[in-house]
C-alpha cells in the first residue's frame, strides 16, 4: 500500500487546554479507503473530524506525536497554512446542506467563488468545471442549477452540490460529518451509493462520521468506535459487525432497533451518559456490565481483539 492519506498518532484535542475532547487517538486512512467513525454524541467524533481540517475554534489545542494529512504535517501549522491545505488535501461535507450554502447567492456564484485560487482561469472555464462536477454527482440539468438559489433545491440535491463543491478541490480526503442524517431514507440510499462510487471515479478516500450503524455498514471498509474521546475498538467493518469485542460496541449494537427482532417487549438502552474524557480507569466502566476492580483504577490497554490482525479493542477483558 502506498502512503496513507491521513495518519494520526496519539493525537489529543482539548478546549482551553483544560477540557479534553479527544484523547490519544491513532487513526490511519489509506488511499481509496472508506473509514467510518461511530459513537454517541459527546464522544468527540466531530471534534476529531474538525481537527483534520483545522476548523476547530481558537480555544482548541491539538497535540500529538504525528498528524500527517496528504504528506503535510499539520500539527504545528498556523491557521494560514491550514487554510491552504483545506481543499486540495481534505474537504468536508456537513450534516445540514442548507446551512452549508449562503441563502442569498446563486449556487453558480458560490461555486465559482470557491475556485478563487485558480486565478489564471476565466469564469467560463470555471463554470465548465463546475458543470462537469455537478454532472459527476448526478445532478440533472447542471447548467440550470448554476442560476438557482439553495432554497430551490431539495436537501438531497443540495447535499449532492455540497459533495460536488468538495470534489472541485480534488481533495485527497473527503471528511463527511453525518452526511445523511438530515435526509430521507430514499435520498440517504442515493447519497451513500454516490459516495461509494466516488472512490472509484474521483479517487478520494473518505472518512465518514455517523451514529447510524446502517450507514456505516453500507459503505465503510474499516470502522473505529469512539467513546469519551478515545477509539475503543477498530477493525474491518465485517469483523466489527459480526464479532464486536468491546462491551461498548456490543451495547451499541444491542440498542440498534434494526437488529432487534420484533416483538421484544422493551428496547434495550445504555444507561447513564458519556463521561468527560480523561478520568481514571476505563471511561466506560460506569456503564459497563462487565466492570471489574481493575477497570476502575487502570486504563485499559489497546490490544489485538481477534484473529483478524487489524482488529483491536481497548478493554481489559480482550485477550490478544
Amino acid at each position: 500500500m502506498s502512503a496513507p492519506v491521513l495518519e494520526i498518532h496519539n493525537v489529543s484535542v482539548s478546549y482551553g487546554g483544560v477540557v479534553p475532547a479527544v484523547v490519544g487517538v491513532d487513526l490511519t486512512v489509506g488511499p481509496g479507503e472508506i473509514v467510518g467513525i461511530i459513537g454517541e454524541s459527546g464522544s468527540g467524533k466531530s471534534t476529531l473530524a474538525h481537527s483534520i481540517l483545522g476548523l476547530l475554534p481558537k480555544a482548541a489545542r491539538v497535540r500529538g506525536d504525528r498528524f500527517v494529512l496528504a504528506g503535510n504535517t499539520i500539527l504545528d501549522a498556523d491557521r494560514t497554512t491550514l487554510s491552504v491545505l483545506r481543499g486540495p488535501s481534505a474537504a468536508m461535507i456537513f450534516q445540514n446542506p442548507m446551512a452549508a450554502f449562503s441563502p442569498i447567492h446563486t449556487l453558480g456564484k458560490q461555486l465559482v467563488d470557491l475556485l478563487w485560487r485558480d486565478r489564471d482561469q476565466t469564469v467560463a472555464t470555471k463554470r465548465e468545471r463546475i458543470i462537469a462536477a455537478l454532472k459527476q454527482v448526478g445532478i440533472p440539468d447542471p447548467m440550470g442549477k448554476l442560476d438557482a438559489y439553495p432554497f430551490q433545491l431539495s436537501g438531497g440535491m443540495l447535499q449532492r452540490v455540497a459533495i460536488a463543491a468538495a470534489l472541485l478541490m480534488r481533495p485527497a480526503l473527503l471528511v463527511a460529518d453525518e452526511p445523511t442524517t438530515a435526509l430521507d431514507v430514499t435520498m440517504e440510499a442515493q447519497i451513500l451509493h454516490l459516495m461509494r462510487s466516488l472512490r472509484k471515479t474521483a479517487g478520494v478516500s473518505i472518512l465518514i462520521i455517523s451514529h447510524h450503524l446502517g450507514v456505516i455498514a453500507e459503505i465503510c471498509d474499516r470502522v473505529a468506535v469512539m467513546y469519551a474521546g478515545q477509539i475503543v475498538e477498530e477493525g474491518a467493518v465485517e469483523t466489527i459487525f459480526s464479532d464486536p469485542r468491546h462491551p461498548y460496541t456490543q451495547a451499541l449494537f444491542a440498542c440498534e432497533p434494526a437488529l432487534i427482532p420484533t416483538g421484544v417487549g422493551r428496547l434495550p438502552v445504555i444507561a447513564g451518559e458519556v463521561p468527560r474524557p480523561g478520568g481514571t480507569g476505563c471511561d466506560f466502566a460506569g456503564r459497563c456490565r462487565f466492570t471489574e476492580e481493575r477497570c476502575l483504577t487502570l486504563s485499559p490497554p489497546w490490544v489485538s481483539a481477534s484473529a483478524d490482525p487489524r482488529h483491536h479493542a481497548r478493554c481489559h477483558r480482550s485477550k490478544p
Binding site: E40, S41, S154, G155, G156, M157, D184, V185, T186, M187, E188, A189, Q190, L192, H193, H211, H212, L213, G214, V215, I216, A217, E218, C220, V237, E238, F241, S242, A251, L252, F253, C255, E256, P257, A258, L259, I260, P261, T262, V264, G265, R266, L267, P268, V269, I270, E273
Partner: protein, 337 residues
C-alpha cells in the same frame, strides 16, 4: 372492528394553503393533505410514515387544530366537531398532547423544567402542582428531582425529550401525537423514549400517533402503519403485515431504502431514484408513477383510489405487489447476527 367509537377519527381531512404569496398570483390553493382518513382507538399506537414533504407533520397538527383543516370531519369519542374553530378544537386539546419534533424549541428558555411541567395542570385546573406531585411526574419519565430546578439549556437531547413527555403527561392525555420522537437521539437512549410510550399505553391505555420516517422505530412500536405520499395515504394496515408483505411499491421502496447494519447485505443499486415531486406540480395519474419501477401506461393517466384489501389493509395502487415478490424485500425484519 369493535363497536365502541374510536378515540379520535379523522374523515377525509384535507389541508390547503392559499398560494397567494407565490409570485404570478397563482389562484389555486396548494393541497398539503388530501382526504386522509384515520381512526385511532384507545391504547393503539399508529405510526405515520413518509418522506419529508409528505404531509405527516401537517396531519398531526391538523388533528389538534394547530393547522386549520380546509375540509373533512374530526370525531372525538363519537362526537363530531361542529367546525374547525379554535373553540371546538379546545375539546380535542383537552384530551390530546403534542410532542414537538424539536423539544428544546418548544420550551420556554427562561422557565425551569418544574414550572414547565406544572403549566398544563394550572391551565386545565386539574391535577396537583405541589412539589411532591411534580417530582412524581418527573420520575415517571425517568427524570430525577434535581432536573425540576434546571433550565432547558442544561438538559441533554434525551433528557429534553423526557421533559417534553412529562409535560404532555401532566394532564394524563388520552392521545399523544409524537412528531419524530427519536430524531436526533442516540440509539443508546432512543429505546428509553420508546419504552416510555409502551409503558404509558399499558398503564393509562394512552393512544399514540407517532410521526416518523424511521421505519425500524415504527417496526417496534406500531400496531398500525399509515404511509403517506404527497399528502395522500398510499397504504395502511397492521404493522406486522405491512412489514412482512408491503403491497404498494412506495412502501416497498421505503423498506428497501433503510440501510441494514450488516456489511454482508450491501446494496449495489439504490432502490428508488429521483425525489419527491413538488406539491405545486403533482404528477398526472398515480402520483408515484414518476419514481415507480413497476409503472405501466395506466398509472400515467388514471389515479388509483385507496381500496380496501383483506386483513384491514388499504392500498392505493393499480397493480399491488403480490405477496411472493414482496417477500423478497431485503432488510429490516431479517435479523441474522
Amino acid at each position: 372492528m369493535s363497536a365502541t367509537p374510536a378515540l379520535i377519527e379523522a374523515t377525509k381531512l384535507s389541508v390547503d394553503v392559499p398560494a397567494k404569496w407565490l409570485p404570478f398570483a397563482r389562484v389555486k390553493p396548494l393541497s398539503i393533505l388530501l382526504d386522509v382518513s384515520l381512526a385511532i382507538r384507545s391504547g393503539e399506537i399508529v405510526c405515520m410514515v413518509g418522506e419529508s414533504g409528505s404531509g405527516k407533520t401537517t396531519f398531526g397538527r391538523a388533528l389538534l387544530g394547530l393547522v386549520k383543516p380546509s375540509s373533512g370531519r374530526i370525531t372525538l369519542e363519537g362526537a363530531a366537531l361542529a367546525d374547525f374553530s379554535a373553540k371546538s378544537f379546545r375539546a380535542v386539546r383537552r384530551q390530546a398532547a403534542l410532542l414537538f419534533q424539536d423539544p428544546l424549541s418548544s420550551f420556554n428558555p427562561r422557565q425551569r423544567i418544574g414550572a414547565m411541567i406544572a403549566e398544563p395542570r394550572r391551565i386545565a385546573r386539574s391535577g396537583s402542582t405541589r412539589m411532591e406531585d411534580l417530582v412524581a411526574l418527573a420520575q415517571q419519565v425517568g427524570l430525577s428531582e434535581r432536573f425540576l430546578s434546571r433550565f432547558p439549556h442544561a438538559l441533554s437531547g434525551g433528557q429534553a425529550r423526557r421533559a417534553a413527555v412529562a409535560r404532555a403527561l401532566s394532564v394524563i392525555p388520552k392521545l399523544i401525537v409524537a412528531d419524530e420522537p427519536t430524531a436526533g437521539l442516540d440509539v443508546s437512549v432512543q429505546g428509553g423514549v420508546l419504552n416510555l410510550f409502551l409503558e404509558l399505553r399499558e398503564q393509562h391505555r394512552t393512544a399514540f400517533l407517532v410521526i416518523t420516517h424511521n421505519l425500524s422505530v415504527a417496526r417496534h412500536i406500531a400496531d398500525r402503519i399509515v404511509i403517506l405520499y404527497l399528502g395522500r395515504v398510499v397504504e395502511s394496515g397492521p404493522a406486522s403485515e405491512i412489514f412482512r408483505a408491503p403491497k404498494h411499491p412506495y412502501t416497498r421502496a421505503l423498506l428497501d431504502s433503510e440501510p441494514v447494519p450488516d456489511p454482508a447485505k450491501r446494496r449495489t443499486e439504490p432502490p428508488v431514484l429521483g425525489e419527491v415531486p413538488s406539491i405545486a406540480a403533482r404528477p398526472e395519474g398515480c402520483e408515484f408513477h414518476t419514481r415507480c419501477p413497476f409503472a405501466q401506461a395506466r398509472c400515467r393517466v388514471e389515479a388509483p383510489t385507496l381500496a380496501d384489501e383483506p386483513g384491514h389493509r388499504q392500498v392505493a395502487c393499480h397493480f399491488p405487489l403480490p405477496a411472493a415478490s414482496a417477500a423478497a424485500v431485503r432488510g429490516l425484519h431479517v435479523v441474522s447476527r
